[in-house]
Subunit: 218 residues, 3 copies
């Protein structure tokens, strides 16, 4: 038998938080990186692509620092605005999301595939729409008179985006295996698309954490 200690204390402890500005900082980084990712995929010159990758990598490092700051704060802070483990999980998932965005771009730089199919641009646009949903939800989370339905509708939208991205991935793979006869080129494109698709999965994982927080504290 277990016991939800946070519910017991939430009525008489003051609310205070450095966490929400840090989480919003993570989300802002994710948005900047997704804008760059779309440009990165569309661009054709290797030099332009490398330059854009360096910018994405810088943002990823910055987000790492924010994540570490959140973890350090959690360990030092007695009272947190939500369950400690939920803040930790949210920060970790946001960090993972940016890692996947950065990792996708890095694979392109490393592998230099012969072409960047239109499905990759589509996938990056789905990631960007997901990032916008996450931003709307995280901003709402920090408001005093929070609109829970606004957060939950973003979570539903993130689920839809994940499903759509899944279809994009599946159709891409089916046609790639039919058309591409060069095994190494196929290998490169499969791995890059898998990483892009896993970013939309991760955005939905973020939605699950957001939903958990809203349900607990409604």
């Amino acid at each position: 038998m277990n016991y939800n200690i946070s519910r017991f204390f939430q009525f008489f402890l003051p609310k205070e938080s450095k966490f929400l500005p840090l989480l919003r900082g993570q989300v802002a980084d994710i948005l900047k990186a997704t804008d760059l990712l779309i440009e990165f995929i569309r661009v054709t010159g290797q030099e332009d692509r490398k330059r854009l990758y360096v910018e994405i990598k810088k943002i990823e490092t910055h987000c790492d620092d924010l994540t570490n700051e959140i973890v350090d704060e959690l360990n030092k802070t007695f009272i947190t605005p939500f369950d400690r483990e939920d803040i930790h999980l949210l920060a970790a998932q946001l960090d993972d999301l940016l890692d996947l965005i950065n990792g996708s771009a890095k694979r392109v730089v490393l592998y230099q595939p012969r072409e960047m199919p239109a499905s990759m641009v589509q996938m990056a646009e789905h990631i960007r729409e997901g990032a916008l949903c996450i931003q709307t939800a995280v901003i709402e989370l920090g408001k005093k008179r929070r609109n829970d339905n606004l957060v939950l509708s973003q979570c539903r939208r993130l689920h839809e985006i994940e499903n759509t991205a899944d279809d994009v991935y599946e159709n891409f793979i089916i046609s790639l295996f039919k058309q591409e006869k060069d095994a190494i080129e196929l290998l490169k494109q499969v791995e890059i698309m898998q990483l892009l698709e896993s970013a939309t999965d991760k955005a939905y994982r973020v939605a699950e954490v957001l939903k958990t927080i809203v349900v607990k504290y409604s």
Copy 2:
């Protein structure tokens, strides 16, 4: 220094649970999906295979709903029959197991490998035996006068199954790399077998959570 709050409260709080029926529902879904998976691998026509995949996918979606229900209940419920995090972890691992079963079938549909080797059927049968062990253990978990040894013996069996599946995988890979000269076909078969094998790993992860619960509440 930490402190096991659940042990402290378990003596004077009433037992009550919507969780066990939901967990049993997840396990029933896993069993249905493994039966279909064996048929799916054995069947030869593309149309039959697609039809069976659609059925597996439906079950996976249903299990997703059950998992969400468990998470929502955990967030709303003050008292749980076991540690909150153990129920959450068990539900999440069961969900992951069905995702891997579904994912294996999906890869077959996407990649359309030239052949389905006998090792794939063997692997699916190991997954099914694991699902049966999990069912026995989860049913026992919900009984008032629980037989801990019965649960623990299922966990040991799940460990044995994982090891056997590992051997099946290894022997398959060694002979595949010796015989298959078509890199794309090799790639397809490796990825499908990796997913099937990871389902037996995941079933053992479930066993570890079951063991944790039994040891804590013995």
Copy 3:
């Protein structure tokens, strides 16, 4: 609003631990395995390589037993020297690290790549240096008058090692994709190097847990 129960109780509960010797045992296993891994990669005969793999596998099984012992103790023990979940996470991550070392060696035995490039030896040496950092930190963790700065400097070093290993991996992949025209051989080498590189990532995950413990209990 949540509440750090451990901070509240740590002032009046006695310290006592079977955990630190078990954790040190895990680390000793990791060090033994990394020594063997370097030899395993350098050696040229298939028979020698198989013999060394059997030894690595034995150590991995032993570490599994230690991990299970830690989990069992955690479930039975009322008072732990650090947060229960941090000990659990540390033990699990150490176990994962040894799994990755064992998994890398296993892939070599299964795939029998045509050659073992110098980058693989370099990577194994980075893993070994990481293991030494972890050992220094875990030994310090168990001391009554712990030098926190010594632990934190090991964590920073583990971060540097991860970054260096990343560069080794990237340079290896770029030159492999330029030079290797045999898709199956390329596939083998990419997967082996990915596993070795993920061991250095995992060593940094261990560092993050160590840092968390030190920051919480400083």
